[in-house]
Symmetry: C2
Subunit: 152 residues, 2 copies
């Protein structure tokens, strides 16, 4: 979808669109803001049950699901997530928090970074972007991330 088309549908001029959202990423971030806020919020609620491993798993699944909804969001997630909207900040903070707690609880390897995780969420989102109901595939891929493909 071209930005001219976006402007037309929003019934504003292309100049106005560019002033409000200087980059495509800014527009995507704004579009996903509430969605991201709600992912972060429901994750915060879940953590109350003191199961850091499961909380992390659910967070990853929901983030991947919400990232795969808008075409082309997945590929730019790395940039989008750094653009400072409340939703992006909430997602980032919550991710770091979950990772820290999971490490403290000893259920996650110490050498795992938030970047590692975002990298895999991007991959999962790209992979399922065209699926109609991607939930089960996402669950499978998140499971691969958590447990690896090796037999235990």
């Amino acid at each position: 979808m071209s930005l001219e088309e976006v402007a037309k549908r929003a019934k504003v001029g292309i100049g106005t669109l560019y002033r409000r959202f200087p980059t495509r990423e800014a527009l995507l971030a704004a579009t996903s803001n509430e969605r991201f806020l709600s992912v972060a919020e429901s994750s915060r609620g879940r953590d109350a049950d003191h199961d850091p491993g499961n909380a992390l798993r659910k967070y990853l699944e929901e983030l991947a699901l919400n990232t795969s909804i808008y075409q082309n969001l997945a590929a730019s997630l790395g940039t989008v997530i750094e653009c400072g909207t409340p939703g992006c900040n909430a997602i980032t903070e919550e991710g770091h928090r979950l990772l820290r707690r999971a490490k403290e609880a000893g259920v996650i390897r110490g050498d795992t970074s938030f970047d590692d995780i975002i990298c895999v969420v991007i991959a999962i989102s790209i992979a399922v972007e065209k699926d109609r109901s991607p939930e089960s595939r996402i669950a499978h891929l998140v499971d691969l991330l958590l447990n690896g493909i090796s037999v235990r």
Copy 2:
């Protein structure tokens, strides 16, 4: 890099470029053909030592490394790899073979598909695309894929 620029540097007209490589992916595939052939070949040689787990690991590392070399190849790897050049076919066949052997040897989960693996190779390649010497980061991410982020 625009395709006009590619044509100019190759000293052919833009029409000729398009006839020989109808899509960007075809051009990328042709560019990477020898590289992919050599990855597949060295992987075949390695398998002689009857360590399927290690052979798979090396294959993944080399594929990710060679995919991250050309800017923008990573994001289209899924399409590129299906385009039928000898290199792409060799990579695909070798990947399936390694996966089958590793499963037979009981070192890889049965529910892991070749698509799952390409998906993660894409992610890894995108993540390290801008790194100067990505080898160690690739090794880390491949290790995450193989062993998961959970503590064992």
